[in-house]
């Protein structure tokens, strides 16, 4: 079902192409020279020790963090270009945060329909119908009139995923989506993400869940100290890590 976005060369353009991305805060280099392509349908898990720049990398993809060098192309358009309408591109890039960040002053339904109604001119009926459909899929249709504060962490995160999906994004960015959850709630969130991957949603997931990476991702990226060290298909990646740094890291977490 992948739409063809052909370049002049006739070569298929990746959905997201990161080109020599750099990010530093003052003298502190967080990311250096990262180049990677993400195709439609890819499920990329980004792993690495804390402080390695994984989250910064993810947040650069929708410019929540402003890159200090390099380019990021989405559908061939440079989203780091100041003249690019970043708000329009963000509509195509759903984001899920560690802390859920649901809007506490709105009901679940309002959380889900606000952006589609205000930004995509979707009618309330249409927006609610689609939101209800997605809510049913994550098993939370009965909580539509609740407020976020009344839900458990796992439920809030599933709602946060649905909120991003309501914008019908082309890619979903997950920033450690299960790190703030109690252990017994991790499963329900991962299972929603698994379903999403099965539906061929393009996903970039910063995570510590090695099991999820192994099982669901088709590519695993390892970042360490702002360097993009190694990448591979999960089976190969976990069984035969090439670099010392990755071996070291896997030795600690597995």
């Amino acid at each position: 079902m992948a739409q063809d976005n052909t370049q002049v060369t006739g070569q298929k353009e990746a959905l997201i192409r990161v080109d020599h991305l750099e990010k530093h805060f003052g003298d502190h280099v967080v990311l250096q020279d990262i180049s990677v392509e993400i195709d439609r349908g890819d499920v990329v898990c980004v792993i690495g020790p804390s402080g390695s720049g994984k989250s910064t990398f993810l947040r650069c993809l929708n410019r929540l963090e402003e890159p200090t060098g390099g380019h990021i192309y989405m559908d061939g358009i440079d989203i780091c270009d100041p003249t690019t309408d970043i708000d329009r591109h963000r509509q195509k890039m759903g984001m899920v945060f560690q802390q859920f960040n649901l809007f506490p002053h709105m009901t679940i339904m309002r959380n889900l329909t606000l952006a589609p109604m205000k930004l995509q001119n979707v009618s309330q009926r249409e927006a609610e119908a689609y939101a209800t459909e997605l809510l049913e899929r994550v098993g939370l249709a009965d909580r539509r009139d609740a407020y976020p504060g009344e839900l458990s962490g796992g439920q809030q995160q599933r709602i946060a995923i649905v909120r991003a999906l309501c914008m019908k994004p082309e890619v979903m960015l997950f920033d450690e989506p299960t790190s703030a959850l109690d252990p017994e709630m991790v499963g329900e969130v991962l299972s929603v993400m698994k379903d999403l991957a099965a539906e061929k949603m393009t996903m970039v997931v910063v995570t510590h869940e090695m099991g999820f990476a192994r099982e669901v991702a088709n590519r695993v990226m390892f970042l360490d100290g702002g360097d993009f060290v190694e990448e591979g298909a999960p089976a190969e990646f976990f069984a035969h890590p090439k670099s010392e740094r990755l071996k070291n890291f896997l030795g600690k977490v597995l």
Binding site: L64, D87, R88, R90, M95, F97, Q99, F103, L119, E150
Partner: protein, 230 residues
């Protein structure tokens, strides 16, 4: 003694319809407070938006500097002095309505305090809320309008209301420009009857009753808002 009390009462409030000094004064006090509060809301809101925007995005630097100067000067000088400067210096050559002058002076003054209340409300909203809004595709202004402001206002409404209560009491210095507000009204009675007790206590009681009523309303509102957030 009862006789004495009754004749005092008669002298201070009934004779020559002196009670009208108090009712007319009360009217002026309420008008000045109401419109100064409204002017302060507009000013304060504007200043808070400028300051927060500058803090968050680094834009509006010049406007921000002007706002900071305004806050420093207004919060660093007594309101009576500001009132007199506006009446005797700025509006010196134009004979302008005193009530209007007082509204301007107290409005400008209250705006500075309200600005800081609004701003702390905006800052109390977690950064993640802002990022969530932006990540959905809302621009800066839309994120402020739909996501940050409703939460910020909920936080600062009780504090704002207390600011209005303070403002009500602060307007009592309006007599410095010979505006006949409630306090001045009581003072005029005192100067006519040469008895200070009755008129001043009456003035104090009227302020106290108004403040008690308003405080009660604020706490009701506070409870109402708390229910909304759950």
């Amino acid at each position: 003694m009862w006789q004495q009390f009754r004749s005092d009462l008669y002298l201070n409030f009934v004779k020559d319809d002196r009670w009208q000094y108090l009712t007319n004064g009360l009217k002026v006090t309420l008008i000045v407070t109401l419109f100064a509060a409204l002017m302060g809301i507009i000013l304060g809101f504007f200043v808070a938006i400028v300051r927060s925007t500058c803090e968050n995005t680094g834009r509006l630097k010049i406007l921000n500097a002007i706002c900071n100067l305004y806050l420093t000067v207004i919060r660093g000088t007594p309101v009576v002095v500001q009132l007199m400067i506006i009446y005797f210096v700025i509006f010196a050559s134009v004979r302008i309505d005193k009530t209007f002058t007082a509204i301007i002076a107290f409005g400008i003054n209250s705006g500075a305090y309200q600005a800081e209340i609004f701003r702390s409300g905006i800052q109390s909203v977690p950064r993640g809320q802002f990022e969530a809004g932006r990540s959905l595709g809302f621009n800066y202004a839309q994120t402020m309008l739909h996501i940050i402001m409703p939460q910020a206002l909920r936080v600062c409404v009780p504090t704002l209301c207390n600011e209005y209560i303070t403002l009500l009491k602060e307007t009592s210095v309006a007599g410095y420009i010979a505006l006949e507000d409630l306090t001045k009204g009581g003072d005029i009675i005192r100067s006519r009857t040469y008895s200070a007790f009755m008129p001043l206590i009456a003035v104090a009681l009227i302020y106290l009753i108004m403040v008690l009523v308003l405080t009660r309303l604020v706490s009701l509102l506070e409870r109402r808002l708390a229910r909304g957030t759950r």
